[in-house]
């Protein structure tokens, strides 16, 4: 994975709290990207692990929290995920050098894959005892003016198509496409039967195809 983004910031306003790290101004340990940090973790480098945690944990926490409203579950999943990173980093480092880069080959993508599976495990654990509070599905809203800037990876049409999908269909799409879960795992996460997840994804596919054609 590349270090940062070289194609210029639209945003230059300083962040509150932490200073923005701009490309080119990193020094020392900061110069290493996440993949390099994981490779150092694989060699048992505790400081690299701390640095990796410092850089990625806030992001992962937010992403998990958007999928599970219970902070205890989020904390549990976060802890399990990073322990797994500490213990299994060797495998990641090897898989990277061994077979070349794949789509999910980045260290951050790898981190998310681990976390997503562990999140499903946490839901399985709680499925028996009590329900995990799910994040409320947000109803579609009119895009704010600022969203015009956000034409990023998913294009305008796709964005429009996503907006017209019912919330439960979007949730199924998010769990499978964005979070990379299997339909079976998605069914645990969303608390609906697997066939329901499948039919929702099919509905989404049809709707998106229409919107994009």
């Amino acid at each position: 994975m590349e270090v940062g983004c070289d194609d210029g910031h639209v945003e230059s306003a300083p962040d509150r709290g932490r200073p923005v790290v701009l490309p080119g101004v990193r020094t020392g340990k900061d110069a290493a990207d996440e993949g390099e940090l994981v490779r150092r973790v694989a060699r048992g480098d505790r400081r690299a692990f701390d640095e990796f945690y410092r850089r990625t944990a806030p992001w992962l926490e937010v992403r998990l929290r958007r999928r599970c409203a219970d902070p205890d579950v989020v904390a549990e999943v976060l802890q399990e995920t990073y322990l797994a990173v500490w213990r299994a980093a060797g495998g990641f480092a090897g898989a990277r050098t061994g077979s070349g880069g794949e789509a999910r080959g980045s260290a951050v993508g790898w981190l998310w894959t681990i976390a997503a599976h562990r999140l499903v495990d946490a839901f399985r654990r709680r499925a028996r005892t009590d329900q995990v509070p799910q994040v409320q599905l947000t109803p579609s809203t009119v895009p704010a003016a600022e969203d015009e800037v956000m034409a990023a990876r998913i294009g305008q049409e796709l964005e429009q198509a996503l907006l017209v999908l019912p919330p439960e269909v979007r949730a199924a799409l998010r769990a499978t496409v964005l979070d990379g879960l299997s339909t079976r795992e998605a069914s645990v996460l969303l608390g609906v039967p697997e066939n329901t997840v499948k039919s929702r994804v099919r509905r989404a596919r049809v709707a998106l195809r229409e919107a994009l054609s």
Binding site: G4, C5, D7, H9, V10, E11, D15, R16, G17, R18, V20, V21, L22, P23, E34, A42, R43, G44, R55, T56, P58, W59, E61, V62, R63, R65, R66, P71, A75, L78, Q79, Y82, L83, W86, G90, A93, G94, T97, G98, S106, V108, G109, W112, V135, T138, S140, T141, V142, P143, A144, D147, V149, M150, A151, A152, R153, E159, L162, L163, R174
Partner: protein, 268 residues
């Protein structure tokens, strides 16, 4: 690539309902690939989020200090994967045996001048013991486990045959180079016999096929040659071309025949 605005990042971090789903998707996709925006996000999280991250950091410290640091880093992962996946322990004794036999044959050939080259005589049989045990219930302690995986049967047999050849072929080449024998006459029969064994294996099972081939070659070629102390016509320089043709044909037929064979995937 356009970066999300700080307002959007703050909205994402705080779970602002004003941010619609497509925007959230775009932000999430972007954040996975952009370290700078992750750093900006880290500066925008809520008090609760920071508390969770700090709490987990302490827990991690405790857990990591309590357990011994992960080992197994003596070898690189790729080496260990190659070693364990392809040269599974069960093959090792057989491969060691094969290489030892080849070494002895070379040594005898060097000491015992005037005899037909033993190395050349046994070379065609070299991979067969390994191939015979490649996918055998009795030879593999984990057979019962592996038999239920999608790689069971033919995939396993071919994979391990390849592993056997990967050891035997260089060993033969090395011995051949040392004794100054024709490399083609060493390697072609060896490949042809491997293919023939697999082919015969589709009818009677690989183990029986290997035993049959080894026995016939020993009786029909090796024994008479030693008795008569001269090289058989089969392994003379003129036969090279025939061996090449035989190897190509046998390998091609083997490839066509082995893929639907139940006899190979279900050994006795």
């Amino acid at each position: 690539m356009t970066h999300p605005s700080l307002t959007q990042i703050v909205g994402y971090a705080t779970g602002d309902p004003g941010l619609d789903e497509p925007a959230v998707w775009a932000i999430e996709v972007h954040l996975e690939g952009c370290a700078d925006c992750r750093a900006r996000l880290a500066g925008s999280t809520t008090v609760q989020s920071r508390a969770v991250v700090a709490r987990v950091a302490l827990e991690l410290d405790r857990e990591i200090a309590a357990a011994p640091a992960p080992v197994g880093r003596r070898w690189s992962w790729s080496w260990s994967v190659l070693h364990h996946r392809w040269f599974v322990g069960t093959l090792l004794p057989w491969l060691v045996m094969t290489v030892t036999v080849l070494g002895c044959a070379a040594l005898l050939g060097a000491l015992w001048v005037g005899m037909p080259s033993l190395v050349l005589l046994v070379a065609p049989l070299a991979p067969l013991p390994g191939v015979a045990v490649a996918w055998q219930r009795r030879a593999d302690p984990a057979w019962e486990l592996i038999a239920t995986t999608p790689a069971a049967g033919l995939t396993m047999l071919l994979r391990r045959t390849a592993a056997v050849l990967a050891v035997v072929v260089p060993a033969l080449a090395l011995v051949g180079a040392g004794t100054g024998l024709s490399l083609a006459l060493m390697l072609l029969p060896c490949l042809a016999f491997t293919a023939a064994t697999l082919l015969l294996g589709t009818l009677v099972g690989v183990r029986r096929a290997a035993i049959g081939v080894i026995a016939s070659w020993t009786l029909v070629v090796i024994a008479p040659s030693i008795a008569a102390t001269r090289m058989p016509v089969l392994l003379s320089a003129e036969a090279e071309r025939s061996w090449a043709v035989a190897t190509v044909v046998l390998t091609a037929v083997a490839f066509l025949r082995v893929t639907g064979s139940r006899r190979l995937s279900h050994p006795d």
